[in-house]
Amino acid sequence: MPDAAALAVLSQDLLATGGVLATRHEHGKARLDVEPAAVVDTLAALKAQGFRSLMSVHGLDYYPEEPRLGVQYELLDMTARDRITVATRVTIADPHVPSVTPAWPTAEHQEREIFDMFGVIFDGHPDLRRILMPDDYEGHPQRRDFPIGGEPVLFTHNEKDVPGWIE
């Protein structure tokens, strides 16, 4: 993992390209917080630095903090055996993030999953549609304000309320 000094050097180069909001170093790992528009360039700059593998693209919901939706990219440098995280956040009102799929083909299914589960729209994705839920499903299930759903657990006090109960 790049240590704090290396991270400072790294972010200096990236600050020149613009868009880097903050750098963090926690639990032995470096993390860059960037603006959504700068995601593609940041990843390209990191690729030039040696982080040539995109291991994971995942989304999260920071409810109730704003901006709510976050997308994180986990990069790996196989030669130097390093990892780095790039994180960005968008609001529900304007959930657009440029897609990194053209440069990193591995992000295709993963960005579709984030779209399906959180509603983040990836501009430039070749085929953005639902992947895990049925195509006509309404709602984005993994948002924190989406109800967990499920069946009520039947006890003797509420079993009579279940439709289909035969006395």
Binding site: L132, M133, P134, G149, I166
Partner: protein, 231 residues
């Protein structure tokens, strides 16, 4: 082709089922008279030898459909293995095609995307067919009580529920043998009679009827004419 269904049981409505249950209670308490007792016995057990032979044959040669969904499928594969050999009961012929199978072991969690597919496969099976809900996820919601899972009881009739997460192969074996004894001794008992669930076949609606799903221009409905009941 006409389908002639033998109405083996006269239980059609939940009220009749309840009446039968009350009669069973009276029988156990010794309150039935001679004539009533004879009627009761006749209605409850298979009296003809041919019926008994057919039931015996059916029970001993159930063909399960390969329907492994999730973790329970791995345990289902274990009962086909050498330790708990399901072949000693005659059930090792897992058929891939539902048209050739008569038992559906629903092993694993049924998601909302998969439920219509399961129902379709179940409809394509021929009567008499049986379903076992293996594991907690298909019987009830199981470990996961959330938006993505459907318990199998909601969309298809299940004969035997086997609890466990995943059920041990011995437990599944117990469930299958229970189903076998049900088939051989008294097919009239249980879930399906109660909810009048016999006769679930796939019906292809005629073109133009409201039940038909919209099809693409180039698709050809190979079953033109009125909706037919396909056996």
């Amino acid at each position: 082709m006409e389908i002639v269904r033998s109405s083996g049981s006269s239980i059609q409505t939940p009220e009749q089922f309840r009446a039968q249950g009350l009669k069973a209670r009276e029988m156990l308490r010794g309150e039935l008279t001679d004539a009533e007792m004879e009627d009761y016995v006749r209605s409850r057990i298979l009296t003809t030898t041919l019926d008994k032979a057919t039931a015996w044959a059916r029970g001993n040669s159930l063909f399960p459909a390969t329907f492994g969904l999730a973790c329970c499928a791995i345990e289902m594969m274990s009962i086909v293995g050498a330790r708990l050999d399901i072949a000693r009961f005659g059930f090792e012929a897992f058929r891939a095609s539902p048209r050739q199978a008569d038992m559906l072991i629903l092993s694993g969690r049924v998601s909302i995307k998969m439920a219509p597919v399961v129902r379709r496969i179940y409809d394509q099976m021929l009567e008499p067919k049986f379903a076992i809900a293996m594991g907690a996820c298909s019987s009830s919601m199981g470990v996961f009580n959330n938006y993505a899972i459907v318990p199998a009881d909601k969309f298809m009739p299940i004969d035997v529920h086997v609890p466990g997460c995943p059920p041990r192969p011995e437990a599944l074996m117990y469930g299958i043998l229970k189903l076998r004894s049900m088939v051989q001794e008294d097919p009239a008992m249980g879930w399906r009679e109660r909810y009048n669930a016999v006769g679930t076949e796939e019906v292809v609606p005629a073109p133009g009827t409201p039940g038909e799903t919209p099809q693409a221009e180039s698709a050809v409905n190979v079953f033109p004419g009125e909706a037919i009941q396909r056996a």
